[in-house]
């Protein structure tokens, strides 16, 4: 599904990603862990096409299509979804109108019919329930005045609506209390399927108790320096990042 090879990227003059390789097969959940400043969020942003990053080497192919040739909206239409660490508030932009515009843009690009109002409503209500979100959220401006937990749940709600092939969850656990974390994780787990892959970017092991990964990778100084199964996350929790990162440097 996703094949990243030798990826290098800069922010300004600074090289953040220094030759990153990652292969994700359909249905797999990969966790990317690492200390602050290791390049985790940069990796998520570069894949989704955010401005301000310069890819200097390497490639990222999603089902054989070069992501770096595409605008952010084209990547989304291809099935890429980024759940933001800091969801953006859009004052005056109605949540329901926003979702409808997004869903129809994606459906249209796949040659599918736009949703009619009734089936769209039905789909929304069903997905809202999974994330314990209130209907009233639909009438509010996107993320505007939402609590931290509501924002994160709204991200996963959007993911549920847009049904991506590959979802990247960027620090989705940050700022969530344990109840909110459980709801978000339930929402994510409900979306796991043999066709859908996920990359879960996180600093802490805590999230992985709820979203169990197939693989865990440790990112440090812009490279993946260790990969393993879910037990690697437990080891990191116990020992911290120092032993791997320093070991690599030695």
């Amino acid at each position: 599904m996703l094949s990243v090879k030798g990826l290098k990227a800069n922010v300004g003059d600074k090289e953040i990603l220094r030759g990153l390789d990652l292969e994700v097969a359909p249905g797999e959940v990969h966790a990317i862990m690492g200390p602050n400043g290791s390049g985790k969020s940069t990796f998520a942003h570069v894949l989704s096409g955010r401005e301000g990053y310069e890819v200097t080497a390497g490639s990222a192919m999603l089902d054989g299509t070069d992501l770096f040739e595409l605008d952010p909206e084209e990547r989304a239409r291809l099935g890429l979804f980024l759940a933001f660490q800091y969801p953006v508030e859009l004052p005056g932009v109605n949540n329901m109108y926003f979702l409808k515009a997004a869903l129809n843009a994606i459906r249209k690009s796949r040659g599918e019919d736009e949703f009619d109002a009734v089936s769209f409503m039905r789909l929304m209500k069903e997905k809202l329930k999974v994330l314990h979100l209130d209907d009233s959220l639909l009438k509010r401006p996107v993320n505007f005045g939402f609590s931290g937990g509501e924002k994160k749940r709204n991200e996963i709600f959007q993911m549920a609506m847009l049904e991506p092939k590959l979802a990247i969850l960027d620090e989705t656990d940050s700022g969530l209390d344990i109840d909110a974390l459980r709801i978000v994780a339930d929402g994510v787990n409900a979306l796991r399927s043999p066709e859908r892959s996920m990359i879960v970017v996180t600093h802490y092991q805590r999230l992985l108790d709820y979203i169990e990964p197939d693989y865990v990778h440790v990112l440090a100084k812009g490279q993946i320096i260790r990969s393993g199964g879910k037990e690697l996350a437990l080891e990191l929790e116990e020992k911290g990042y120092g032993w791997i990162v320093d070991g690599e440097a030695a």
Binding site: S48, G49, R50, E51, D71, P72, E73, R75, A76, R77, F81, L82, F84, P87, V88, L90, P91, G92, V93, Y97, F98, A101, A102, L103, A105, I106, S109, P141, Q158, L162
Partner: protein, 456 residues
Amino acid sequence: MSAAANSSRQQTEAAEAFAGWLQGLSGGAAIDAASSGTAQDWLAAERQQAAERVRAQAVPTGKSESWRYTGLRSLIDQGFVQVDEPLTALTPDDIEEVLVPGLDAHRAVLVNGRYSEALSDLGTLPRGVRVGSLQRMIESDPDALQGVLTRIAGEGSHLFASLNTAAMQDGLVLLLERGALLERPIEVIHLSVGMEEPRVAQPRHLISLGDGAQAQVIERYVSLGDALYCTNSVLELSLGRDALLKHARVQQESPNAFHITGLYLSQDANSHYAGVNIGLGGTWARTDLVTRFSGEHAECDLQGLYLAGDKQLIDYHMDVRHGLPNCTSRERFKGILYGKGRAVFDGLVYVARDAQKTDAAMSNRNLILSANAEVDTKPQLEIYADDVKCSHGTTVGQIEPEMLFYLRSRGISASLARRMLCLGFAGEIIEALGPEALRDYVTEQVGERLERAPLD
């Protein structure tokens, strides 16, 4: 000849050209009026004085503060002439294209500044409500107008209002007696149609609400085609004690239109005025909103949205004078500028020494979509009382890249994302327009303009 002398000579020439132009527009009509009838002696005298004020007035130049960003040269250069023939050839089918789908309202239509009985569809008006032609009323019942018409604008009104007083022929009159209630809105369509030569219309409108009367008025300035013309209109509004007026104004004229409106509002005690101004059309549009309070505890709420693109200048001037205690005023204007569009916002709130407990807030926020667009914004508070609550704020910004990326990351194209963010910015003003049919219509009009807007 030195450059300075040359420039001074040019300025003198421009001033002379302008003075001649003004007299051409005001002189004839005023003299005609002065020599006709006896019932309107008071009006004839007002017009004569207005014509004299026009002749005596210094010609505004770039140095005159209120015209600093809005040059008059392009207006004068068109050689507009006043045409006094009413245009009667239109049928209701012809105006179909300018109607708001699904808007339920009493409808009054004016064509090139003249009230049209044939196109108006007033339906059944409630008791105590009169709607009709100003010219008719001057002929048939001038007493009903005395002490109101021309008095609200007053002698201190600006040049174009004086010009209008001298030259006015017709316009709309809406009178609500004390306690009258207009539940259905009344829509006033100001339709302009191009003529062979560039013409100016100078309609005069009067809306007067007696004590406790309530109404909702929707004024729309529209054109058939891309005609070049000028409208110099004055609207006088009088609100009695406890009266309530909701007033939506949508200017969506031809891209070649020159538009001047002077709106003069007089509010008695406890009255409430809620005005929403939408400025979308024209190549040169100047609106002056002037408010005076004649009783305490009155509230004046002015909101606005303007959109200016290539070859467009949209200018809103506000002058709210708190001369009495305990009144409230609000100005909230938002602008979206694209292409080479230009806008001017100039808001003055004046609080006299005796106007204690005044509550005034003014804000102007602008979204600039291109490097070539410009807005000149000048909120001003002049406060001479010491126990007041007054504030003002101005912002000029661009679309946040973060917001744009968020929308695009969900599959939404960059151009639609931009449009959604602009409509989100404009939304709270459009919401204030009232009837849903009108809100939807204006949202669509704004969306269409943004869709055609160049990205830089």
